[in-house]
Subunit: 191 residues, 2 copies
């Protein structure tokens, strides 16, 4: 059923007893998003963490009328504007569907309640934050210590699915270069 995927995802982090699950399940909300629709815009306080059942989304922010992609999210990935979510401040991010999406949402208040009531869930929160920290550390080092060319090579290796599904100009933005530069990098790599 429609919440199976997120249940399995949670189970990767903590043992999820039937009791825990039955407590959590009623709080989950299923949301559908058409390509181009936004889950969140700049200025919103991010009030949910989102699990992607199906589809593809991008997180980006806008500066000087230009889009800067910070991350892509696809099947069985967990996403949110975590900074806004945690600090309860308006975020700078847009979250937008690149393909039609089926998403599962869980709101801030429910999560906080679960943190205090279910010890396992507190642990899940820790593991999740730790996991996100490691993820973003890797990206950090990549941006700081690797050339755009190397970043593109790695991205192709690690996310061949996204190379297929995401327009090149968005990938360029994600890698921190212009579309023109990425086009030239690709040309260089062919020869």
């Amino acid at each position: 059923m429609v919440f199976d995927q997120i249940k399995k995802y949670y189970s990767n982090f903590i043992p999820m007893s039937d009791d825990d699950w039955n407590l959590l399940k009623p709080a989950l909300r299923l949301v559908h998003l058409k390509k181009g629709e936004k889950l969140q815009s700049e200025g919103d306080i991010c009030n949910d963490v989102t699990f992607c059942n199906k589809g593809l989304l991008k997180c980006y922010h806008i500066k000087d009328d230009k889009e800067y992609v910070e991350a892509f999210f696809t099947e069985n990935e967990y996403l949110s504007d975590y900074t806004s979510f945690l600090l309860r401040i308006p975020g700078k991010l847009y979250i937008e569907a690149i393909e039609d999406c089926e998403l599962v949402l869980l709101d801030y208040d429910t999560i906080q309640t679960f943190y205090s009531r279910v010890d396992n869930f507190q642990k899940f929160g820790r593991l999740m934050a730790e996991f996100l920290f490691i993820q973003i550390s890797l990206r950090n080092n990549s941006l700081l210590f690797e050339s755009p060319e190397k970043r593109y090579i790695n991205f192709s290796k690690n996310r061949p699915d996204l190379i297929q599904r995401v327009p090149q100009y968005m990938i360029a933005s994600y890698l921190g270069v212009t579309p023109e530069a990425l086009s030239r990098i690709r040309k260089r790599l062919l020869s």
Copy 2:
């Protein structure tokens, strides 16, 4: 006394009862490091989180014989090679004293024990990971979306203390540019 600072630090994140503190205190280890000495080298599995009572350290890694500074840590800051610490894998980081340091260490096993035994501590772990996530997100965005010049200006604003205490070539590395480039940026900014 010598553990007052870390107690206060913990108290910023969670209420720290006398019982909790008396449980934790015996596990804390005081370590002194002379300028130039290393707390950790590449290949080590990071086995402690470290709190800085006094002094100044840098985290860096080495690639093609060049040093890449990832972070500085000074009084009342918490540091570790968190990725190595969490995943229990050999790290790529060196952690080295830029000034003589007084440090408080807490080892992995103790922390894990406390996570499972003291509910408050589980929460501390979550809050800490969340905090580190937010920190590194900010740095991430700075590296990706700001010019070296902008990064230097912000760094000067946010950490005027480090501008004074850290040699310029290390700051250059931290900002992701060569010492020559930083020297020229500074020159540009004066005129």
